[in-house]
Every structure is written in structure tokens, then in C-alpha cells.
Symmetry: C2
Subunit: 251 residues, 2 copies
DNA sequence: AAAGCCACTCGCACAGTGTTCGAGCCCACT
DNA sequence: AGTGGGCTCGAACACTGTGCGAGTGGCTTT
């Protein structure tokens, strides 16, 4: 595999595929799939080229024929994650529901593969699955009435919300998973630290009173938080549509 | 430094500080600051314990007296990034402006230190700076009229937007920086790939027509995208306030 | 049928990583 | 004067990503 050039031309997505004869024992798809399994099972630390090689029953360096380097492998894996997201066609539902389904899909795909979250900021997501996702969303928002730059912005903010929410959620879930503790146990551990901080931060007590005691099902709360934000965001987009286009927001 | 236990009690933030005598040549603050400089200058790959040691004129393993491990060092660095964010007091401005300033601050802090973005999903941000940030935002939103769970959700969605937007922005900026190309050059490189994809994705052409030609100042466009989303989000929150509290949104 | 090309695999080696361990230093307190 | 402990550090271990060059097998061309 030729070394990735410094110019963008060397990107996985632009590089022409390799010629092929016979039936190679390894394939790029197979490698990416196996890498995802390792990542899902053991997190980013669980993926090394050597382990991936042995998992595939081949030498570690054989992988480099099919993939330029580990970075590129991860880029491919991220696009595969995005491939799991379903976005409805404009005719199927109204834009609000379509957008919700899309954002929900992105959030849950990222939570299913939390290792992908930390990779999103590294390379622009321009793989085929990312593009398909983008184009579907654009179709949805065109049908809603968005035009010009607002179209681009609207799709971007929807994805941003899903990514940001998934990031925050993943942080908490990873702590729960890592320590193996329940939410209550952690709350108990953190309590004295919070007490100490509360003296510096007067509003903190008020906040705790407002939100009440820590719930024992964090998953549900996290989902509520995400859903609340999504509804507010969609409300804001709808409002913009009403004020900036002749028609109301549509069916 | 005692090894980080698996329970949450072992977290940097909960562990009692070390006793101290004499004047040690190294300090935790110094180490974190130096680490941030390396990260800012050369990205995540630029930070190794050995390099950090030599930068501080000390042995690499000396660092382990002040910091449990590299992971914890990064956790400290992330909180330091959050410490750069200014959030106004409720009395200073209306809640909308205050929230905007806060979100802008988070976005720019993350863009100043892009390495922090990928770390946000790893551990919950409960460092002192993160807490101060949260409490300030809570104060702002209490003044706005948010109560109960909605208070918590509103602060969360604001941060999520900033994080998500910074993630997407950072992805693009890192590509520009890495290749050293201009936006136009990259667009030219990617063009044939896009043409190929366009045949599968019919709406893609429509999208390009809508958004027009690629602008030569991506920074401005990215900022616009972020700002558009923020305004929509704040609109949505304001709408919620109007429908769920007696008072209007306030001054 | 022979020859050669080329897709593909892989062992070795290199430079570098995070982290542990134990030895040591030197200051503060008894 | 002596001892404890905060603090530093060198050596070592297991492991990482990856370049290089040799090797192998099947297809294509002569």
C-alpha cells in the first residue's frame, strides 16, 4: 500500500482501489469488521495491529497491504459506524420526524461504538456512508423548506447535537462501565468532593435541590436529556422556517 | 502515586493530595501546563511521558510521583481547558447572551486545544473547572426561569451543541492543517470522488447548487454554521420557557 | 510448456511507548 | 546524630506501529 501522501489526494476515499487477482485470504472489509469487533469488545486499547492479525489468523504486517496504516483503518471503521444509521426518505414522514429518526440513529450508533466518538474530530467524515447520510438529511431538509446556507447549517446542527450528546453520555457510561459501580455508589464516592466544591459554588446546592436526588437509572435520564435538547432544537428550526419561508413547516 | 483503583474513589478529583515537604522540583500544575504546551504544539502524538520529562528537565518516571498515569494527566489537562471558559454572572446580561458567551467560550477553548475534544467522551468532566462552569451555567438558567430537570437538560444541551460543533469543525481544520492545502485545493482533489458519489446520491447535486461554490474562507463558514445552530437552539429554549412558565423570557 | 510478473503474505528489526521496581538522595524533624 | 519519608531517576519489561526484503503461489503472456 503506497504511503499516505501529505496531500489530501492520499486519503483512503480518493485513492484508487488496488488491482486484484486470485482470492486473497484477507480483505479490507474483513479487516475493518474484525477491527470493529475488537474495538467494541475492548475499547481503543484493545485494538493493535498484531492482535488484529492473530484474530484474523494472519501476520500483523499483512494488514498493511490492504490498509495504509492504523489511522486509516480507524477512518474506515468510523465510516462503517455511520453506515448503521438509517435516515428516512422525505416522502415517508414529515421532516421533524425524519430528522429525529436520523439524530436518534446517529446517537445510538455512536453509543454502540463509543470508540468512534473520539475519532470524529480527527478527520472529516467523507466516506461513502457519511455522504449517503448527508445526502439523505439534505433531502429531508430541502423538503422541509430549507434553502441555501441554512440548509447546510440545519443539517450540521442536527448532527452536532447528536455528536455532542453522545459524547457527554459516553463519558458517564464509560465511568459506570469502568468502575463496575452503580450510579448510587459513585454518587456516594463523589459526595464529599462535591460538598467541598459546594462551598465555592453557591448555586450548586440550588441545582441539586432542583434536580432532586440522583436517579438510579442514568440511562433513562440521559435519554431524556438528549430528547429534550432535540425537541428544543427542532422547535428552533421550525420557528426559523416559519419566519423565513412563505409556507408553514409542512405536514 | 498510589495506583488508580478500579472504583471511582481512585479518581484524581477524589484522591486526597499528597503530603509535601521541602520544595519539590516538579509540581502537578507545572506538569499539566507543560503537557498542554506539547499537546497544543504537536497534537496528541506529540505527548509522551519521556518527552514531557525532558521538556521539564527531569526524568520521565519522576512524573509518576505527581500523576498516577498518562490518562489521569490528560484528565487534568482537559479540566484546565475548561478552566479557560468564561461564563458571565446572571446579573451581568440576559440569559440568552450569557448562554451564548458560555457556548462561544467552550467552542473556542476546544478549538484552541483540539486534542481535548477526543478526550471528552472518555471520562465525565467533574474537575473543579468543569464544576465551576456547570454552576455558573445553572445560575444563568435559573435566572432565566428553568427549573427541575429542564434546568439540567438546558445546560446540557448548550454544552452538547458547543462540543458537537467543535468536533465537526476540528475535523475539517485538522485536515486543512495536516495537508497544508487550501480549501480550494482540497475541493479540487475531492472533486472526482464526489462526482462518482453523486451518481448514487441524487440529492447531492441539489445540495451543491443550494450552497453554491466552496467559499475560500472556511473559518467564517464554520463559525456561521455554529452560530446559526446556537440561535436556533436558544430560540427553542426560549419558546419552551414561554410555554412552560408564567413569565416571558426576561430582559 | 516455459517464463515471468505481480498480488499477497510474513518474519525480522527498529525506534519508541507507558509503566513498575528498587535504589538512592536530601531535607525536616526528633 | 539519626531516621523517616518526600521526591527523583535509571534500568528493565512488555508492547506498540510500521519499513523492508524475502518468499510464495497462481495467472497471463509468449
Amino acid at each position: 500500500m503506497p504511503p499516505r501522501s501529505d496531500s489530501f489526494t492520499g486519503s483512503v476515499w480518493l485513492r484508487p482501489p488496488r488491482a486484484q487477482t486470485g482470492q486473497p485470504t484477507l480483505s479490507r472489509e474483513q479487516i475493518v469488521r474484525a477491527a470493529m469487533e475488537l474495538l467494541d469488545a475492548e475499547g481503543p486499547a484493545g485494538l493493535s495491529m498484531r492482535r488484529l492479525g492473530t484474530k484474523l489468523g494472519s501476520g500483523a504486517t499483512s494488514l498493511y497491504w490492504h490498509v495504509a496504516n492504523k489511522d486509516e483503518l480507524l477512518e474506515l471503521a468510523v465510516d462503517e459506524v455511520l453506515g448503521e444509521i438509517y435516515v428516512p426518505e422525505p416522502g415517508d414522514t414529515g421532516w421533524r420526524i425524519g430528522a429525529s429518526i436520523s439524530a436518534n440513529g446517529m446517537r445510538s450508533a455512536l453509543l454502540r461504538h463509543p470508540w468512534a466518538i473520539g475519532l470524529l474530530g480527527l478527520h472529516p467524515t467523507i466516506g461513502p456512508n457519511a455522504m449517503r447520510l448527508g445526502e439523505r438529511l439534505v433531502a429531508l431538509f430541502i423538503a422541509a423548506g430549507f434553502r441555501g446556507m441554512a440548509l447546510s447549517h440545519a443539517t450540521a446542527v442536527l448532527n452536532s447535537h447528536a455528536i455532542g450528546a453522545a459524547t457527554s453520555e459516553s463519558a458517564i457510561k464509560s465511568a459506570l462501565k469502568r468502575t463496575g459501580q452503580t450510579y448510587e455508589q459513585i454518587a456516594e464516592d463523589v459526595e464529599p468532593y462535591l460538598q467541598r466544591l459546594a462551598s465555592d459554588n453557591p448555586n450548586y446546592e440550588k441545582w441539586r435541590q432542583e434536580t432532586g436526588p440522583m436517579p438510579n437509572d442514568p440511562d433513562q435520564v440521559l435519554e431524556e436529556t438528549y430528547a429534550f435538547g432535540l425537541e428544543r432544537l427542532l422547535d428552533g428550526l421550525e420557528l426559523w422556517l416559519e419566519n423565513n419561508t412563505g409556507k408553514p413547516s409542512g405536514p
